[in-house]
Subunit: 463 residues, 2 copies
């Protein structure tokens, strides 16, 4: 049987792909850090794609920024479907390093677990795609029955700052029937998830500077303005303790979820909520005591404002009596349709000015618009049908997730539907110490990816 | 003439004392840092005191804490006055290191300037006392005409946490006619200052922990409590933007300055205010737009609440989308008579609980009560009279300063008057990068110290 042969081929190529994944993890391609080896990360991915018979190019976005890897194979011709894979070779910083059990840049194998920075987000997904292509070629006389385009960017973890412009400038190159998104996988029950939307984001640094240099807190405490206090007071005006964001007009463009969205949320398993509660043990429970459908709604359809980091003054051991001259915080706003990060940037400035903080400098590190695909789209259904068959469980159609990504230039800019399949699971600790991937998920993700691609070929032109 | 001989002797011993100061600066005796070489700092000071013929002992306070150096010479007998010098061999941390022009632990000489951590606060003051003793001995047949007790502690920069108990347990050992305080010097006009009071302090760390480990800000931003937000909101309740501290009853014990205090403040030169404005270039001027006597009053007779440092989450380069599990801040409260740090500790807990922050953990790093000597005391007058003669300028009698120190156990515990003389000046950058001492101030401070001691002998028993 064809499926058995396909799965056998995945098994046969598994160890080679894990070795290649180890090589990718070994490149600390942290887009947030200026001296990270981004070029090396791009070159390794390009080489792995060339090895599969794709023609790979490393293309610049803007000078000095991590390049884009673009690879393609149009051998299947105009009568076959064309699929665009979107992935990224950059990763989050590994800090705090001491919280890892070992070196985050050395892939560690522990039973079914592969551990290392980027092993799930997103190098494991690149491996998943490569493994699927390997297996399809092996069971199809060495050729792919569809055209492949593969876009692997290097700035996903820094809000894909240059990708929307690059996509707009290369839309003809990227034309395809469907985009396979960079993530996917299973929930706490092992049910496959098909993700239909991503929130947007606007990421800022806020900087306060009040005096020429740090002062003694005794002499200065009574008379000199304190940058840490300025920043704390400014931040405290951004959001109520009830989580209501206070920027002017911040909720004006928010589209509430439809009845169909709420129905999909209601059909999602309750175990995700229980997992989050158990894993993170949140103080006094979830924000707003949210539960059930309200938890699901709040988790994805509400805008957020998160302090990602803050620093000022002396933070070493013991008591240093200093009055800080400077302070800064990193803050992200998650956006829901149809909020716009550029408008958030403007209203943040207006808000700080209106609240007496014209001195707080805003540095806009990047933003992304939210975006969605219709949960009823035929390719979403195809992804769900193949997932049901591969995993043997009813897939979850997720109308929106809490995270962000450069979905807008694909679904709105290229006007292409997107579907998800992949190797993630809720214990993967993405962005955190101990990031991991289950080998069994890598196998299942490759099966689903391959089965979706083959089903796409079967259905192509019959719609 | 005797004074000429004294001053010539100071000049003769100057270079040796600067070399000894360089040796003291080379010991990074940062009391705030657990692995600092505090014992080495104590031993070096003890050796320098022994070299002057004092009997020095290194005495413990509590196990593991930096020891106290106590040295004495009672050769002058019961008919001569006894003077207690209070100094400290510990220093502030040197961070941020990159803000120094060179190694902060290598004494750098640049014309009249000596630069290095602790060169003014307080190792330069130890040198000033040693230089004065050297000169008096040389011009008095090798003997001191007064009894000396010298207490050099190692925890002044961490709020002298163990000193009050140690003083209480050694009050007989410390009995003296007057305490010469660890600092002093000139103002922006070169006028000598005689300081009569110090504010108290209560130093805390506030810690927030909301979830088990850092979460992704996308997944977590809507539903998980954020430690940085908790801390920012908690801090924002401590003080209004108008600098009013909101702890319950915080101003109840505050004694306003007397009319005599205000008169002394009014007689202080306006140039100090101008210096602070020029040096620190405060954003929008001083807090509360204070000027003149109101500036002087506010600078020393108002309680303060200063954020010394704050840290949470990711503070490296670029955009990391993390939701922090933990956050902490360092906060000091400066206290005026008759506020009490233990009561501030209690009311801080009450305040956080009452404002919905029972989860914010308070770590009390230490406190000191405020204290004063009567500005009309005979020895204050003697210090002023000798200063007038040495500096050739009218001294400033300063009723209170903004900084803190362990004054309370001396003036209230030992019931001894205190006077100040020293080597400081407003550009010394104490506690900041670039801490410096003018060689000319070292000479003048030693002259004043010696002249006060000799005048004390002359007046002794004649009162």
């Amino acid at each position: 049987m064809e499926t058995n042969a396909l799965y056998a081929a995945i098994d046969a190529h598994l160890e080679t792909n894990i070795s290649e994944l180890a090589a990718m993890v070994a490149v600390p391609s942290v887009a947030a850090q200026p001296d990270a080896p981004m070029q090396a990360g791009a070159e390794l991915v390009a080489a792995l794609l060339e090895k599969r018979g794709l023609t790979a190019r490393i293309l610049p976005t803007v000078p000095g920024a991590p390049p884009v890897v673009f690879a393609e194979n149009r051998d299947a011709g105009v009568d076959a479907p064309t699929v665009l894979f979107y992935n990224h070779y950059d990763v989050q910083p590994a800090e705090p390093l001491e919280a890892w059990d070992g070196d985050p840049w050395t892939l560690k194998r522990d039973g079914d677990l592969l551990i290392g920075r980027g092993v799930s987000d997103d190098k494991g997904h690149i491996s998943c795609r490569l493994l699927a292509l390997d297996a399809i070629k092996e069971t199809n006389n060495g050729v792919l029955p569809f055209n492949v385009k593969m876009l692997v960017e290097g700035e996903e973890e820094v809000a894909s700052v240059h990708l929307p412009d690059w996509i707009a400038a290369h839309s003809a190159l990227l034309n395809a029937d469907v985009t396979i998104w960079e993530f996917g996988g299973v929930d706490t029950n092992g049910r496959p998830e098909i993700i239909c939307g991503l929130r947007g984001i606007a990421y800022f640094e806020l900087h306060a500077k009040t005096i020429a240099y740090d002062a003694h807190s005794g002499v200065g405490g009574s008379v000199l303005p304190n940058a840490a206090w300025r920043l704390v007071w400014a931040l405290s005006t951004l959001k109520t303790r009830g989580e209501r964001i206070l920027l002017p007009g911040h909720y004006d463009a928010v589209l509430p979820p439809t009845d169909a969205d709420i129905e999909l949320l209601a059909s999602l398993p309750a175990e995700q909520e229980a997992f989050m509660r158990r894993e993170f043990a949140p103080l006094n429970g979830f924000l707003g005591d949210a539960q059930g459908v309200e938890y699901q709604r709040r988790a994805v359809f509400e805008p957020t404002c998160t302090i990602n980091g803050i620093e000022s003054g002396y933070t070493g051991a013991g008591a240093k009596t200093v009055l800080p001259a400077t302070a800064f915080a990193k803050v992200d706003f998650r956006l829901v349709p149809d909020q716009d990060p550029e408008i958030v940037h403007q209203s943040l400035r207006q808000h700080l000015d209106a609240n007496g903080f014209p001195d707080i400098e805003i540095r806009y590190l990047g933003g992304q618009k939210p975006g969605r695909v219709d949960p009823n789209h035929a390719y979403v259904k195809l992804a769900a049908d193949t997932a049901r068959d591969v995993y043997g469980k009813e897939p979850c159609i997720v109308p929106m997730v809490g995270g962000s990504g450069p979905i807008y230039p694909f679904v709105a800019g290229l006007r292409q539907p997107m579907v998800t399949c992949g190797v993630g699971y809720p214990g993967a600790r993405v962005h955190a110490p101990g990031e991991n991937l289950r080998v069994s998920d890598l196998v299942m993700g490759a099966r689903h990816t391959a089965r979706f691609l083959l089903a796409l070929c079967d259905s192509y032109g019959k719609e």
